[in-house]
Each structure stands twice: as structure tokens, then as C-alpha cells.
């Protein structure tokens, strides 16, 4: 079992009348890669800034290695941060930026030189020592920012949307690189992002946040396969979310039809949200299906077609590699493990209907603004 390194207890953060964080309880394990995932304004950056010590919570406690650190200033914490937009010192060159923390802690110049050299090698910036940071590309600045933090050998590295300013290609490369660095140095990473794909591919644990509350904590697989509520189901990947009734354990009813499922532990006849992932639906001939609907829209997406199908006025998104022409009638089959049942929540009815489907739906998260919690 991994050891708990950071513990947040009942954190509440208020800016004036705005409650940005609402009773956050979180345990961060040593040497793990944890991601705080959520839309703009969900409180993820504020949580990170509280861990770093830049902000004091309105109430609640922060523990580090069992010690309460609410009153410990940032410069005394064994935590370093990679800032959004990097916050490199423009008056210093690459070498001096990386050496900054070591010089503050007054290490001998020889030791500094050795460690900065190693770090430059690790982030493949050898030969850039005397370059001005303003003359570097985004990806290079990013590496300097990581090196500047890691060179101090912190116990925890906090990363605030570190890849947000990079283009897609570079972002993918850096994702792999960051994960590799984390495994190599073997320290805890706490990573903030609004990009669900980034979160799923890098993390050991994902914390999904919205409205200042934690919605779900789990492994990427858990979060995707067993979303806790309609918000999580919708935010992580694409989901069709239907109203249903849990007849009994392993039996759920929606569209006036009973389906076998793998969920249990609900009350009898409890109203529930049913999640069906677009890629889990099997398309069959109209007569062989559990349900029968009309294709209203088809978009080619490269690997698959996004097919919108109208079932009695409720539109589903189905992702399939087979092309089904607009207007054709198709049947679908649902296996028990394609169906995921969730308790009703405040988010019920807000997501998961593709009636207003537009082809730009998956770009929406990319255009989001930088999160500034002020």
C-alpha cells in the first residue's frame, strides 16, 4: 500500500460571497500521479494553490506527511509548482532560471552546476544554458519550467495546466514525457487539467471536480466505466444518459423495456440515470434489435462514424466503424455490461441528450479559457 502524503480535510474556500471550494476531502498518495480534472471554475486550480501555499483556505486543514501545514509559507514547503504559462523569470537565462531554487538554498556552486546539468539533460535542453527564456518556444519554456521545479528534488510536483498553451502534437509528446519523468524521479505529481483525455492517459488517480465539489475519485478506468453521476459520465468521454427505473438488482427498465445489467444495490423501483457509451452499442438489423431507430445524422470522424439515431424522440450518439446512411432504420442490441446505472443527482437531465448535436461538440473543452480563480 502506498503511503498518504497530502491530506485535505473539509477544505472550504470563499472569495467574498463566492464559494469556490465546498468541503473538499482528498488523500494524495506518495509517488502517485494524481489529476484534478474539471471544467473552468470548478475549483481545481484553487485546490492546487492551497496545496502550494499561495492561498489559505477559508476553513479546513491541509496535512503534509501527517503535519498540518496551513500556516507554513510556500517557501518552506517541500513542494514545487509548474505554473500555467510557466512563469519563468524573464530577467534570467535558462541556466539561472533552473539554478534559482538551488541558489536560494545556498548549495555550493559545483553541486548546483552538476544538478542543473543533469536536469538540462533530462529535459533535453543541453546547449540552451545561456539562452534567454523569452527566445524559447512554448515547448522549450515548458521544459525549463519543469526542470526549474524538479531540480530542487521536491516531494511533490504541482502542475497547473502545464500543457494548455502547447499545440496538439507537442501536447501528446509532452504527456508521454511527463509520465516518464514522474516514473523516473518517483515523486508525487498533482496535475490540474480540463482535458479529460490527458487525465485518463497520464494518471494513477483522477479526481473529477465541478462546482467546487469532488464528483468522483478513481482510476481512469473506474471513472470512465463507472461514472458516479451524469456530470462525470458526460465530462469524461461521450455518453447517452437516459431516465430509467431500477426494477431490481441486475434489472433496469428504460424505453418501456427491461434490460439485464450488472449493477446492484439500488432500491426497488428507484428512478436512476442510465449511461450507455456510444462505442458500446451493437448495431443489428431492425428486427433483431432491442430497440429500433432512425439515423438522423452521420459524421465521419476518421476512425469511426458519429451516428445520431432517433429512438422515439430521444437522440443517441452511436460510434460505429460501419456506415449507416441518413434516414436508414437500424436496430441496436445492448449487452448487460454495456449498461451502467447511476443514482439520480443534481446533474440528472442536464446531459446526455444528443438532440442538439453539433459536429463541434468535442472542441468545446479545448476552447476553454485559462482558469483564474480571483
Amino acid at each position: 500500500m502506498a503511503q498518504e502524503l497530502i491530506c485535505l480535510k473539509d477544505l472550504v474556500m470563499e472569495f467574498g460571497k463566492d464559494r469556490v471550494l465546498d468541503s473538499i476531502n482528498l488523500s494524495i498518495e506518495d509517488k502517485k500521479f494524481m489529476t484534478l480534472l474539471g471544467p473552468s471554475g470548478c475549483g481545481k486550480t484553487t485546490t492546487l494553490r492551497i496545496i502550494a501555499g499561495f492561498q489559505n483556505p477559508t476553513s479546513g486543514e491541509v496535512f503534509f506527511d501527517g503535519q498540518k501545514i496551513n500556516d507554513v509559507p510556500p517557501y518552506k514547503r517541500q513542494i514545487n509548482t509548474v505554473f500555467q504559462n510557466y512563469a519563468l523569470f524573464p530577467h534570467l537565462d535558462v541556466y539561472d532560471n533552473i539554478a534559482f531554487g538551488l541558489r536560494i538554498s545556498k548549495l555550493p556552486e559545483a553541486e548546483i552546476d552538476k544538478r542543473v546539468g543533469e536536469m538540462l539533460e533530462a529535459v533535453s535542453l543541453k546547449g540552451f544554458e545561456n539562452r534567454k527564456v523569452t527566445s524559447l518556444s512554448g515547448g522549450q519554456q515548458q521544459r525549463v519550467a519543469i526542470a526549474r521545479a524538479l531540480v530542487n528534488r521536491p516531494k511533490v510536483l504541482l502542475l497547473d495546466e502545464p500543457l494548455g498553451a502547447l499545440d496538439l502534437r507537442l501536447r501528446k509528446d509532452m504527456q508521454n514525457e511527463l509520465k516518464a519523468i514522474q516514473q523516473e524521479v518517483g515523486i508525487t505529481f498533482v496535475y490540474v487539467t480540463h482535458d479529460q483525455e490527458e487525465a485518463l492517459s497520464m494518471s494513477d488517480t483522477v479526481v473529477v471536480m465541478d462546482g467546487g465539489k469532488i464528483q468522483q475519485i478513481g482510476t481512469p478506468e473506474d471513472i470512465y466505466n463507472e461514472p458516479a453521476n451524469a456530470f462525470v459520465a458526460d465530462f469524461i468521454g461521450e455518453s447517452n444518459i437516459l431516465d430509467g427505473i431500477m426494477i431490481d438488482d441486475f434489472r433496469v427498465k428504460f424505453f418501456d423495456r427491461e434490460f439485464a445489467c450488472v449493477d446492484q444495490g439500488f432500491e426497488k423501483n428507484e428512478p436512476v440515470d442510465v449511461v450507455i457509451r456510444p462505442e458500446d452499442v451493437d448495431i443489428v438489423a431492425p428486427d433483431d434489435g432491442h430497440l429500433c431507430g432512425t439515423v438522423t445524422n452521420v459524421t465521419f470522424k476518421g476512425v469511426h462514424y458519429d451516428t445520431i439515431v432517433d429512438f422515439k424522440g430521444f437522440k443517441w450518439l452511436i460510434q460505429t466503424t460501419d456506415f449507416h446512411r441518413e434516414g436508414s432504420v437500424i436496430g441496436i442490441r445492448l449487452n448487460p455490461d454495456d449498461i451502467h446505472v447511476m443514482h439520480k443527482s443534481e446533474y440528472s437531465g442536464m446531459f446526455g441528450d444528443y438532440s442538439s448535436y453539433s459536429e463541434e461538440y468535442d472542441d468545446i473543452s479545448v476552447v476553454e479559457d485559462d482558469e483564474e480563480n480571483e
Binding site: 523569470f89 530577467h91 536560494i104 518556444s137 530542487n152
Partner: protein, 272 residues
């Protein structure tokens, strides 16, 4: 650039009222006042006035340093305030600038005179009057009082432009408050320091009114001498030569200050 002609009025203005007069000054500086022939005597005659030049520079340097010492903490404090408070404080800083320069200086005379307000108070308390006026100290005081806003404003601008994330980054990397200041805030406000120094030093070194009102014959400044060449001594050629030398000295001083404050830093790391 299609819109170049938009700057035409300014270029004409500069040509008429700066470039041409400057050429005239140079012409006068190198011609004899009586014969009108080309001569270096105006320039070489400048050695007699070397002590006055040195005094002007010396007093202005002291005034500039005092302005910097008083102005920096003020500018720093304003930059930390709430935006609305910042605006108000900025207004307060500029308030003295709204008053006539002459009036402000005369007000100091009224305060510092041997029979002025302060000394009246002192004598009323049964003490001997203080020598508050007609010395270098009074001249420096006048300079600091008049030019302090010109130091604070550029300092405030450059400090408030520093990205707060850089301050946090420094704290994150182990700096306490004083180290944050020394390692990040101060170096990044160097452009403000440089322009503040220029804005105070240049008018201070060429001022003439302050020294006439608050100083004594012993604290006469270059500006006064130049004025007297045109008004009393009727030697515009010598006055022109002095102006020219003063200009060169100012350039040298600014060059020195830029050399020490030049960190060619930009406020924000460029985005890709």
C-alpha cells in the same frame, strides 16, 4: 505603413521647434558673440564654470537618489493595493503636479524663510531661528518636492506590471519576502527605476528657479547661469555653449544610469 503621414504634424513640429533651434544653439555655441566668427573660445571658456556644472550634477544626483529612496516604497505599496485604491493613490501622487511649479516653490520659501512659518514657530518656542533657506539642503528639498511624482509614477507602472505568478514562482522556489524582492521584484522593476531617474535627474540638473528662490549665490546652478547669459549678461553664445555642454553631460549621466539598470527584461514571457 500607409499611415505614416499621420505623424507628419509631429515631424514638422519637431523640425521647427527642436531640430532647427538645436542647430541654432550649436551655431551660437561655436561663434563669437561680437564678431560672429567661428571659435572654440565659448567651449574652452567653460572651464571657469566647471564647479557650477559639478554642483548642479551633484545636487541633482542627491535629489534623484532621495526621490528613489522615498519613491520606491511608495510605488511598491501602491502596486500591492486593490485596483480602486491604486487609482485613488495615483491621483494623490499627481495632485501636487496640478499646482503651479512656481507657486509650489514659493510656498516652500514662505515655510523656510528666516521669518517664515517654521522659524516663527521656533522662535515662539524660545529657540534660535534655524538656517533653513539659502543653502544646498533647501535646493535639494525643492528638487525632491517638485520632482518626486515623476519618480513614483514610472516606478509604480513597472512594479504593477510584474506578473504576480513570478512572485509566487519565487516563493515556491524557496524565497522569503525579502529574497523575492531582491531576486525578482527589484530586477524586474529596473526599467521603471531607469526612467524614474531620467525623469527626475534631467529637469533637476537644468532647473534654475528652485536655486534662485531656495538657494544662495553659493548654490547657483547651471540653469541660473544660462538664464543670466540671455537675460543679464547678453552673451547668448556662451549660454548656447553651456546648454550644449549640459545636454552632453545629461546624455552621459543617463547613459551611466541605463548601464546600471539595464536588465533588458520584458514583463512577460512570450507565448509561442
Amino acid at each position: 505603413m500607409k499611415r505614416k503621414w499621420l505623424t507628419a504634424p509631429y515631424i514638422v513640429w519637431m523640425l521647427l521647434f527642436t531640430i532647427i533651434p538645436l542647430c541654432i544653439v550649436i551655431y551660437f555655441a561655436f561663434t563669437d558673440s561680437i564678431t560672429g566668427e567661428f571659435t572654440f573660445s565659448n567651449i574652452t571658456g567653460m572651464w571657469d564654470y566647471a564647479p557650477i556644472f559639478l554642483r548642479s550634477i551633484w545636487l541633482s544626483v542627491i535629489a534623484t537618489i532621495i526621490c528613489l529612496i522615498i519613491g520606491y516604497p511608495v510605488a511598491y505599496t501602491i502596486a500591492q493595493c486593490e485596483p480602486r485604491t491604486q487609482q485613488m493613490l495615483q491621483m494623490l501622487i499627481m495632485l501636487p503636479m496640478c499646482m503651479s511649479f512656481l507657486l509650489r516653490t514659493l510656498a516652500w520659501v514662505a515655510l523656510l524663510e528666516d521669518t517664515g512659518i517654521i522659524n516663527n514657530l521656533v522662535t515662539a518656542l524660545g529657540l534660535t531661528p534655524l538656517p533653513l533657506i539659502r543653502n544646498s539642503g533647501a535646493v535639494i528639498l525643492g528638487m525632491v518636492y517638485n520632482y518626486l511624482p515623476y519618480m513614483i509614477l514610472p516606478l509604480y507602472t513597472s512594479i504593477s506590471k510584474i506578473n504576480p505568478r513570478l512572485i509566487e514562482a519565487a516563493e515556491d522556489l524557496g524565497c522569503n519576502k525579502s529574497k523575492v524582492f531582491g531576486k525578482v521584484t527589484l530586477p524586474l522593476s529596473m526599467p521603471g527605476i531607469a526612467s524614474g531617474i531620467t525623469m527626475v535627474f534631467v529637469p533637476a540638473v537644468s532647473t534654475f528657479y528652485i536655486s534662485q528662490k531656495l538657494g544662495s549665490p553659493g548654490t547657483i546652478l547651471v540653469g541660473d547661469i544660462i538664464e543670466s547669459q540671455f537675460k543679464g549678461a547678453y552673451n547668448p553664445n556662451l549660454g548656447a555653449a553651456m546648454s550644449l555642454i549640459l545636454m552632453i553631460l545629461i546624455f552621459i549621466c543617463i547613459g551611466i544610469s541605463n548601464h546600471f539598470t539595464n536588465s533588458d527584461s520584458e514583463e512577460e514571457v512570450m507565448m509561442p
